[in-house]
Symmetry: C2
Subunit: 358 residues, 2 copies
């Protein structure tokens, strides 16, 4: 009768079941299963065997309670559906996995209410570290609330709202400024003169990139004048901008990110603005699809998965060694591709399919 675990409510065997089956104490089982050195090989083996037979799996909640530590990380992302965020999630997850941490990914953090709920959930789950990926800065109070969990920001959102001194919150970001500068230089080398920018959502990254364009032009002695366009995520918006572009004829169109640039490429096709002949179009991010579009998209590649990994790493350091999460800026790469080349040899006859080589 005392042989088989009684499978209470959850139906899962516990330490007590194993202990009972072997006539040892729970503590011994606990130690053996965790590989504590102070257990004889014999008992350890026996315990392991029974544990396997019973299909024992430790209960994370109980462990977390007893150990006062959850080995859990939280990650807030505005939208997993965005390739750049997905890459960050992947990198973050890989790093966490390799260190034995569980990560709870909370999507939809762009929405105020949902973000607040997400944050609370993470706190309830005793997340030891939280990464805010391109998420609008939680008000100062929120930052207080998450203590003693450690926090880092991935990408630029939130970076401008806190003076670095007061709260040592890490920031992992790509060197957007430098990327933009490389881009501008490239476009100038191509002889471009009339720059325009398609704004993304009104968040820090967008402001940063936009301002970087102005500053780069200025630094290079060009009068920093750019035409700006705005757009939401609607297809109609891209069409509107495309029409404006067709009329105003800038010769370089920098877009907030690759997704927008790809959409613009599509919209411009219908306005019969030929890229790159009439107009150079560039993106930002380096998402995989940008490398196979037609024409392929010139862009600034940010090491998104590395950002994720780095953020997780910074959190580990903070959790395990008390090292305050640092500010880290990762390098970017300019990928020059078909969308910003000088006129490229055409091979198709009249059909609307610009051929991009390489």
């Amino acid at each position: 009768m005392i042989e088989q675990p009684d499978l209470r409510r959850t139906g899962r065997p516990t330490l007590a079941d194993i202990a009972r089956a072997l006539g040892v104490s729970e503590a011994t089982v606990s130690r053996a299963l965790r590989g504590s050195p102070e257990i004889s090989e014999q008992t350890r083996a026996a315990i392991r065997r029974v544990a396997r037979e019973l299909g024992y799996v430790p209960n994370a909640a109980a462990r977390s309670l007893a150990r006062q530590t959850s080995r859990t990380l939280g990650l807030l992302v505005p939208d997993v559906t965005d390739p750049i965020h997905a890459l960050i999630v992947a990198g973050f997850g890989r790093a966490a996995d390799s260190r034995g941490y569980t990560v709870i990914v909370m999507d939809g953090s762009r929405d105020e209410a949902r973000r607040a709920r997400s944050l609370r959930t993470l706190i309830e789950h005793q997340a030891e570290g939280i990464a805010f990926c391109s998420t609008p800065i939680p008000m100062r109070e929120a930052i207080e609330e998450i203590r003693p969990a450690h926090a880092v920001f991935i990408m630029h959102e939130g970076a401008d709202a806190l003076s670095p001194s007061e709260t040592p919150l890490g920031r992992m970001r790509a060197d957007d400024e430098h990327g933009i500068r490389l881009m501008i230089e490239h476009l100038l080398a191509l002889g471009k003169q009339r720059f325009s920018y398609v704004n993304g959502p009104d968040i820090a990254s967008n402001r940063l990139r936009r301002n970087a364009i102005l500053r780069s032009l200025e630094a290079l002695g060009i009068e920093p004048r750019i035409r700006e366009y705005s757009t939401g995520e609607e297809q109609a918006d891209f069409e509107t901008v495309a029409r404006l572009v067709a009329r105003e004829r800038p010769d370089a169109l920098l877009c907030y990110d690759d997704k927008m640039a790809l959409n613009m490429l599509d919209a411009l096709r219908r306005e019969e603005v030929s890229v790159p002949d009439d107009l150079a179009v560039t993106g930002f991010d380096g998402i995989p699809f940008a490398a196979i579009s037609n024409p392929r998209l010139t862009t600034v590649i940010q090491p998104a998965d590395l950002l994720g990994e780095t953020a997780a790493g910074a959190l580990f350091d903070a959790i395990e060694n008390g090292t305050p999460p640092p500010d880290i800026t990762l390098p970017v790469t300019l990928a020059i591709r078909g969308s910003s080349r000088r006129r490229v040899p055409e091979s198709g006859a009249g059909v609307a399919a610009p051929q991009a080589k390489s």
Copy 2:
């Protein structure tokens, strides 16, 4: 001295802190905070106030232990970086959020070892429901192991390995067969005759789609003969296939999914195979980028986010009402776009709107 919570190790106030501050019992606080009706308005208000002041947040681990229920769902995906999986994650997460469940997303389930670890993690966290998204079937034993958690499969992987009778595991999938059939009919209407298929990874979805092509041809009285190509995720592979295609000249190239199709489009460009004039290329999935490629990609749109939502819904039902997760097949839509048109200039096509132009 007994006024402020003593902030033990975790630094978070507990029920006991609130109770002490007010001179009531923990039980009362617990009830009040959970809105139990048997608490006077006065005490409830006082308790709520103090809780807020102290920044109290319930401890999920403790609650889960005491309540013997975690309100947690697990989701395994092979690769969040794949747009179709990201959509599923998003839909699943949204549904869970709206019902107050926390979801733990485990990425990288294509990797055997990582998948095993992920599954274990989910069990440790007492996930009450687990969704396997396009994840190679965990051996029968694994299925036993996850009990009493409920499980569903999203997409086709795993669907063929279990006889429906023995384990009532739900399956949420799109009607791939019908999608393929619509696609074949479309291509035949275009006068295509030499069909070819680019295989995806060796998983159920791929086999299913491939076989569906054969069956559709057969059903339509065509000799079910297709040329098959294989490819990994490497760019070199796409180039190889493109070269073969350029030599063998099929007139319709169906690809396992949109990602592959988009890559093929890119590779074919360099082989100077003109799409759709020389060759129709089609995808499967209906990822957003397929709608803005050049040419735009004809594809079968599956309701990915809905699949995610539905899977979550089925799990709720199983958890809360004991309803065994059903098998659900969601309808798909054929989106006819530029990559499979007869030579026609690109017209303004809506994103997901199947064009009925002849």
